[in-house]
């Protein structure tokens, strides 16, 4: 498939380089790609998790009524246009017991770590596997990257970010296993590079694929000759290599099939100046990853726990973390809720794009399940109960939005994790602190 109706010429894109980064960079190019429907028979389901740090103002976050007939709360207003695609969850708790012999803190390190693992981090670097990585293990073979982890703020493993616990905990939400925290990519340039190389130009990508294809062809011949020369044991080993070569050929074939579905974009040259541009650039990369089916699993931390980012652009020149310890000061609470609202509005910008990106027989939003939320409800007291969690997207027909569901008191967050994974076709026997399933039908 080839984009024939170019909304923007390649030259224009290249000219814009270096001086400034044109952002949001997909907008101008969207029309060309939206005109084309996906050819794939059945679109795959995508998973995402967006994390915001330092908790929220619960009073402004949660709607009061349950069910389908409720009024949208102030913090969630920006998402109102997508109401039928959004499931608002309340009452989920994350208080998994600490490892034997350790104390329960319920602090910042716990918040981010528990978000997708529902496991309490240990004094030594140890937690549990996260939802995204359970899915990535299952879906990863289908795509060129099993998962992508993005963040706007740096993660440093070298020091303590919370009483005796490593900064790794506050800087990631993705865990490949109990002792395998995954670093989150902070550089949009590097993230893009992993997905597409220098640009998404179909012609250039096709040329690269062709080059790869001819190298692989030639390798097949080389290995074939080699097989004639070696003894039986090495021959077995080399047959294994042949399979690898063929496997890569098939992946390239798949990539070629998907090739034209991504709009023409160059690798960003750095990190943009403003927070909003940074946040949207990462969302764009997430979208591109889904769109090109380079990966189906993306996690994204808009801020790390303890983030002290200032938001002068929305009238909050104060640092986020001290504001989150508002001590019931109405001025501070108002400022924190402004930050919450701002983050949600950025997210809604992304949801809008997902909705307007055709994918198979519907939109990307139809085929996604995106968790948005925090690891604390009330940041002021680091409260790990009644967590603010949204589930956005149609989940390929498995998820029903338009509702606010209140969990029974004491429902572990992991029960929601279990149900979601089961809906997405990857049921597990247990996860983190789970005690069973949490009905989200």
């Amino acid at each position: 498939m080839i984009i024939t109706k170019k909304a923007i010429s390649r030259r224009t894109v290249l000219k814009g380089l270096g001086a400034t980064l044109a952002l949001p960079f997909l907008d101008a190019m969207m029309p060309a790609s939206t005109a084309i429907a996906r050819s794939a028979a059945k679109a795959p389901t995508r998973f995402g998790a967006i994390y915001v740090p330092n908790g929220v103002i619960p009073g402004k976050w949660f709607p009061t009524a349950e069910g389908t007939d409720f009024e949208y709360s102030p913090s969630l207003q920006p998402l109102l246009p997508f109401r039928d695609r959004i499931l608002i969850l309340s009452g989920l708790d994350s208080v998994p017991p600490p490892p034997p012999g350790e104390r329960q803190y319920n602090n910042h390190a716990d918040a981010s770590t528990r978000f997708l693992t529902d496991t309490t981090p240990s004094h030594i670097l140890r937690a549990g596997v996260s939802v995204d990585q359970v899915l990535a293990k299952k879906w990863g073979a289908e795509t060129s990257l099993p998962s992508l982890e993005l963040a706007l703020e740096s993660v440093d493993s070298g020091t303590s970010c919370d009483f005796g616990r490593s900064c790794v905990y506050t800087g990631t939400i993705s865990w490949g296993g109990p002792t395998a925290p995954l670093p989150m990519e902070q550089s949009p340039s590097a993230a893009f590079e992993r997905l597409f190389g220098e640009n998404t130009d179909p012609a250039a990508r096709r040329a690269r694929m062709q080059q790869k294809g001819s190298i692989l062809d030639s390798l097949l011949q080389e290995v074939g000759k080699l097989q004639q020369k070696v003894g039986p044991a090495d021959r077995t080993k080399i047959t294994g290599y042949l399979e690898s070569v063929r496997d890569v050929e098939q992946r390239i074939q798949k990539a070629v099939e998907h090739n034209a579905e991504v709009p023409l974009v160059n690798r960003p040259a750095g990190i943009p100046e403003t927070f909003e541009e940074q946040a949207k650039l990462m969302f764009d990369i997430q979208l591109l990853a889904y769109q090109g089916d380079v990966t189906r699993v993306v996690t994204y931390m808009i801020g790390r726990e303890f983030s002290g980012r200032t938001y002068p652009e929305i009238g909050v020149p104060d640092a986020h973390h001290p504001i989150s310890h508002h001590q019931r000061d109405p001025v501070r609470m108002e400022k924190l809720s402004k930050i919450n609202h701002y983050h949600v509005s950025l997210f809604s910008w992304f949801v809008d794009k997902m909705k307007n990106t055709p994918d198979g027989d519907g939109s990307l939003l139809d085929h996604s399940a995106i968790i948005y939320g925090a690891g604390m409800s009330e940041g002021n007291g680091h409260v790990p109960l009644n967590l603010p969690i949204l589930l956005v997207g149609g989940g390929s027909g498995e998820l029903k939005g338009g509702r606010h569901i209140k969990a029974a008191p004491g429902t572990p967050l992991a029960n929601f994790h279990m149900s979601l994974m089961s809906k997405l076709g990857v049921p597990v026997e247990s996860h983190g602190n789970s005690t069973g399933l949490f009905n989200i039908d």
Binding site: L216, V230, A233, I271
Partner: protein, 808 residues
């Protein structure tokens, strides 16, 4: 599986040698007296029986007898509670068994073989360095390797998954484009981010790579792909709430390229408005102006300058202007306090440096890579293909470690033609180079493919050259080796000896330290080790670096000064800088430079006194005598105990009265339980001897408020007192230690597991090295001369993929 082998052998032997009889073999009397009570056909303790006289055909039962020999030689058998031979009897039996086994091996050598061997990440990076004069970040380009038998160069574990291949494909493209300086590299500017670990103290000069009079910061070797403009953006270190630290006073920050100053910034001291209370920033805020400054004071630390292509050293560091008199020690904040203090009046520090570019890219410049690749320059299109052939033939000979066949050159030329047709001569070369770098001839070492069908064969000279270079350099052979191999001269023992000496003099042989020693001693773990920060607030990245450097410098010195390998234990010197001196409680060592110091306490010096070794054999929060004891048994004495039995109950941390048990009390529980005791009576004492070193390798006299008792008694009754005693103990087991060292080095040299059939070769190496005081060179040259190194077996079923996990 392996346990039944002796039984199978027994059956075979009985069938084959039935009816033969002669006078009893010399070891038979010993076996009947000391072994047969347990190892008979009826009881078969540990699956072993030594009853049948047919077993006395030693050469046919070498695997079994090597096992017996090992157990008897190391004193592990007979068990302590059974009648044991006197020393003289033991030695006679050991010696006669060795002689018999060695004779049998000499008559019927089994050199083993190494299956197809993928270059590991280190070897790949070194090969690119030596082939193209190009430094690459292999960790970013390639997947990590699995280690097997303790080494990541063991062929059996070096698989080729589709993901590996994908990475090789993209790495080949990236490397070939960078090597020739492909113009399209400038099409889209790249951003590379370098970061300084948070726990690196930046109040001193942090590296010998940085200018004198500098403070903190970082030095990186950056590859500038093309001539052009590049932007350098510095971000300063923040505390946990994102307040930039050390902003109370103006400080000068230099950006240098290859030592030359390109920009001097001044940052700090300009906060306006009322400050937040010191150390409470992040909880209680100040005026808006102050807040904004504290979060964004480093916004303008960016400079854009023209740089010519090539690998250059970029340094970003402060000018050292002390804000307080030198030598005044501020108490160091720990854990969360350290993370949350903005240190307003202290020093600013560098967090990251981003290098972006090229902007307005120019040409590829005159880089070392281009000089080595473009050995000819075509004038006129008719000259292009002959020149390409010359270039590719030269490169392929080095990359494939032998002259490329015409067929292989044609493959490369095919890629050259396609590439040059599209975008010119240099693109053609890039395309062919890309193909070359994914060739299995480059990525794999497949030995002597023509002669592997059966029997034992001498390696051809080119394969021998590769074995040598991968053993001593972790890289491809150089021209001299290839030339000698091409003339068939390398196998000549005199030439070979000269080459080994030459290679050891070459700095590339430091790969032996980096890859062999650091894996043997498990000090590679230092790179990621993180001790408990509440208990060890003094631990910082500077100390990590110093640990790494101490072990490296010590091993390099031992290797290049050609010490006896016994000195690894026995040496009374090491290499330290100020940071390490402070850690070791020594005075009068100043500055970042490492220098040789001699110790008189008998504790430091030698690997058993090195902080890094002592740290990675501990837990993050306490010492672990069991881990240290196991480490000594496995890596120095070659008698690792088996894994613990299943269902071991946790050791109770507290006594019945609620008092926390001391470590020694906990350990004593081990010995109370017979199932634990058999192994722990050997592990624990060796570990306790090191108890004067805490979990980050500091000397201590007490622990948990109780004086440290570093005395212990080994299983056989030998008293061991402290680290000095442990050193004596290890040296007292000289044969075990030298055997273990040689066996580990042989494993590394061959890139395969070493098993019983290699033992005769190991004994030969050691016998010959003994005359030379077990110097490094004598063991290395013994390995190079050995049968397993110079010969390969034909493929025999059962010899593939064996491990030596239970050889003892």
């Amino acid at each position: 599986m392996r346990r039944v082998v002796p039984v199978l052998l027994l059956i075979i032997c009985s069938a084959t040698f039935f009816g033969q009889s002669s006078k009893p073999a010399p070891q038979r009397e010993f076996v009947d007296k000391y072994c047969i009570a347990c190892h008979n056909d009826r009881t078969r303790t540990a699956g072993v029986t030594l009853a049948s006289p047919e077993l006395d055909k030693i050469g046919d039962n070498a695997e079994l007898w090597e096992k017996v020999l090992h157990k008897v030689r190391t004193g592990q058998m007979p068990p302590l509670n059974m009648p044991r031979p006197d020393d003289a009897t033991r030695k006679t039996t050991v010696s006669s068994l060795e002689t018999a086994l060695d004779r049998a091996a000499a008559a019927n050598p089994k050199p083993g073989r190494v299956s197809a061997h993928r270059l590991n990440r280190t070897e790949y990076a070194n090969a690119i360095r030596d082939l193209l004069t190009l430094e690459i970040d292999a960790k970013a380009l390639l997947l990590p390797d699995e280690a097997d038998e303790g080494f990541d160069n063991v062929a059996a574990s070096l698989a080729l998954s589709p993901s590996h291949l994908e990475r090789y494909l993209s790495a080949a493209r990236e490397i070939s484009r960078r090597a020739i300086g492909d113009k399209t590299l400038g099409m889209v500017p790249t951003a590379i981010l370098y970061s300084v670990p948070k726990l690196l103290e930046q109040d001193i000069r942090t590296s010998e790579e940085l200018s004198f009079g500098s403070r903190g910061g970082l030095a990186v070797r950056h590859n500038f792909p093309l001539d052009g403009e590049y932007a350098f953006k510095v971000r300063l270190r923040r505390q946990v709430y994102d307040y930039i630290i050390g902003m109370g006073s103006p400080q000068k920050l230099d950006v240098r390229i290859d030592g030359k100053l390109v920009k001097r910034f001044t940052v700090g001291g300009e906060a306006k408005g009322i400050r937040g209370p010191l150390t409470w920033n992040g909880e209680i805020v100040g005026d808006t102006d102050y807040e904004l400054y504290m979060h964004a004071a480093d916004a303008g630390l960016e400079v854009r300058v023209p740089v010519s292509a090539g690998i250059r050293k970029v340094t970003v560091a402060f000018v050292d202007t002390p804000w307080e008199p030198e030598g005044l020690q501020q108490p160091r904040q720990v854990d969360f306090g350290r993370g949350s203090d903005e240190q307003y009046e202290g020093y600013a520090a560098v967090d990251t440096v981003a290098i972006r570019g090229p902007f307005q890219p120019g040409g590829p410049g005159d880089t070392a890579s281009r000089r080595i690749i473009f050995s000819c320059k075509p004038n006129g299109s008719a000259a292009e293909e002959p020149c390409a052939r010359k270039i590719l033939t030269t490169l392929a000979r080095r990359a494939y470690r032998r002259p490329a066949t015409e067929d292989e050159i044609q493959t490369l030329l095919g890629f050259y033609r396609t590439g040059s047709k599209e975008s010119g001569f240099e693109s053609g070369i890039q395309s062919a180079l890309e193909r070359m770098l994914v060739s299995f001839n480059f990525l794999f070492r497949i030995e002597n493919p023509a002669a592997t069908a059966s029997g034992t064969a001498r390696l051809n000279d080119f394969d021998l050259a590769s074995r040598l270079s991968f053993f001593l350099w972790s890289s491809i052979p150089d021209d001299e080796l290839l030339t000698l191999a091409g003339r068939g001269r390398l196998k000549d023992p005199i030439v070979l000896d000269q080459q080994v000496k030459r290679m050891l003099r070459d700095s590339r042989s430091n790969a032996l330290v980096d890859s062999f020693a650091n894996q043997w001693l498990t000090t590679r773990k230092l790179q990621t080790w993180l001790p408990d920060q509440i208990l060890f607030p003094d631990w910082d990245e500077n100390l990590r670096d110093a640990f790494v450097r101490e072990t490296e410098l010590f091993m390099e010195d031992q290797l290049h000064e050609d010490h006896s390998v016994i000195d690894l234990i026995n040496a009374n010197y090491s290499f330290i800088n100020e940071r390490l001196a402070k850690h070791y409680g020594m005075s009068n060592v100043y500055g970042e430079r490492f220098r040789r110091v001699t110790f008189t306490d008998g504790a430091r010096g030698g690997i058993l006194g090195q902080g890094g070794v002592l740290m990675v054999t501990s837990y993050p929060d306490r010492t672990a005598p069991v881990v240290r004891g196991f480490w000594v048994l496995e890596n120095l004495l070659g008698m690792p105990p088996p894994p613990p039995p299943p269902n071991v109950p946790d050791l109770a941390l507290v006594n019945a009265d609620g008092r926390k048990r001391t470590l020694r009390e906990q350990m004593e529980l081990h010995r109370a339980n017979p199932a634990c005791a058999t192994c722990h009576v050997r592990m624990d004492p060796l570990g306790f001897a090191l108890e004067n070193f805490d979990a980050i390798g500091r000397w201590r006299k007490e622990s948990d408020g109780v004086p440290v008792d570093a005395s212990a008694v080994f299983a056989d009754g030998t008293p061991i007192d402290g680290v000095q005693g442990l050193k004596k103990f290890v040296i007292g087991h000289r044969d075990d230690y030298v055997t273990t060292f040689t066996s580990r080095l042989l494993t590394y040299a061959l890139g395969r597991s070493v098993d019983y059939s290699d033992n005769p070769a190991i004994r030969k190496i050691i016998r010959e090295a003994a005359a030379n005081d077990y110097r490094w060179s004598s063991i290395i040259s013994g390995i190079v001369k050995s049968t397993p190194f110079q010969y390969i077996s034909g493929e025999m079923p059962g010899r593939q993929g064996t491990t030596n996990k239970d050889k003892n």
